[in-house]
Subunit: 272 residues, 2 copies
């Protein structure tokens, strides 16, 4: 079985894939972009994919959401990981003059950096795992990255976790097969459209209210096809085999201009 | 008057600042991160700030939204710019072996790259403006960036626009002073919280429905302070001086557990 993930090795998506699919590395396929992960699944080069869905370090929700909207893949699992950033280097150093990381990681470690490395030059790169590799190759004195990216690149952890926010990142495991498996905590994700007029979203939410369903997420996006038409991404507590969920979705489908079931899946939080 | 923006020179935020505040460069202050822009405003080192709020290339909505939630600054204007990516180089080249850009820009130019540069090595960097600078300094053969980043770095445009999606990016102009000015098209942004129980969001949306207000955006986020409590970011069509808007906001404030007016502002779309 092959699993495509948003690479490189040491990325948060890699860690999510490793945690869920085990440690045999040969079956993990690193992809350069979120698009590549989706295409690898669509073209049957892998059975599963791991993509970030709420992760300020690696990718925006929107890229993954846009692909879920247009492609024929389903969400089959959600993995929630804790984000912890560490200051890492090849060896203990007297002076750190250059530090590489993702801009968002710099933001999340702002207080620590201001207190301890006010004079250091911050080099912004596209991912924390890439920063770790740069550090390993001697291009910078230190990197801010995850502990697994540090391990992957044989870096020493000098300090950490150094981030101030208590952040979690969410990942979806995606597949072409809608084999939905129920677990302990379950969610169901849908996309629907309504016309752009006052009260149309309210009418749809009345349906969820009627069936006592709790929304754990709602996000509106302008549909790219028709200006003025909205697409709503909604996550519901519950699994599709529950009567309230399946009945509510039937009504929502009938009352919306567009409807797509993205998946029904269990949520795994290995860090909690 | 000083204006802080998410740099470097040539970034989309720079272009938004330049388009809105004019071309005198001395008053524009480049900031390294979105955090820095907010702090520059809070510490009175600039009167205005320009930050991306919906822009897959430069920053996630979430960083800006998180800051709006916790800081004492207001939205005073929204600027919408069209995103167009170009293939740029120092000179016309026979062979392009390395191309630098932001991962999201590579995604958006995926079809073009696959057709024309299947063999080229793609170097992922933290921003398209940084990619342009790398190209100018001879570190890569070409960069995918905006036309103004190309100009800024004396690069020739070889092809473009090469992106397939018709994307717009949104920027907020922020200020410590709540001097809300009405324009032709106006929006009002608020944040509110409800308890995590079925129907609580629905009850709040009933208020907007009652006053015939159109929501142009709704986004839920888990409040970082209390797990299980939600924060909703909502944009409404209309200005705070309109009776329906001000009356509805009064009721929403009374019926929510937390409420903050982020701003009431006009929307400017220079590209349309």
């Amino acid at each position: 079985m092959k699993v495509a993930y948003l690479g490189p090795i040491g990325s948060y998506s890699y860690e999510a894939a490793r945690r869920f699919f085990g440690k045999e590395r040969e079956k993990l396929i690193a992809c350069e972009t979120i698009d590549d992960v989706f295409e690898t699944i669509e073209e049957n080069r892998a059975e599963f994919g791991v993509v970030p869905v709420e992760n300020s370090i690696e990718g925006s929700v929107s890229t993954t959401l846009d692909y879920l909207l247009k492609s024929q893949v389903y969400i089959v699992k959600e993995i929630v990981l804790k984000v912890e950033h560490y200051l890492c280097a090849r060896e203990e150093k007297e002076q750190i003059l250059t530090i590489a990381s993702h801009p968002q990681a710099f933001s999340q470690c702002h207080d620590y950096l201001r207190k301890n490395f006010k004079q250091a030059k911050l080099i912004q790169v596209s991912s924390t795992s890439y920063a770790a590799r740069m550090c390993a190759e001697g291009e910078v004195d230190a990197a801010i990255c995850s502990s697994f990216a540090a391990r992957q690149n044989n870096l020493k952890i000098l300090a950490g976790p150094i981030n101030h926010d208590n952040n979690y990142t969410r990942f979806f495991i995606i597949s072409k097969n809608a084999n939905f498996e129920k677990g302990e905590k379950n969610k169901t994700s849908i996309i629907f459209s309504t016309y752009d007029k006052p009260g149309s979203l309210y009418k749809i939410l009345a349906i969820f209210n009627l069936y006592d369903l709790n929304l754990t997420k709602i996000e509106s996006r302008l549909a790219k096809t028709n200006l003025g038409e909205y697409v709503f991404f909604v996550d519901i507590d519950g699994f599709v085999d529950e009567e309230d969920v399946s009945d509510a979705l039937k009504v929502v489908q009938r009352k919306s201009t567009f409807f797509k079931l993205l998946g029904s899946y269990s949520v795994v939080c290995p860090d909690k």
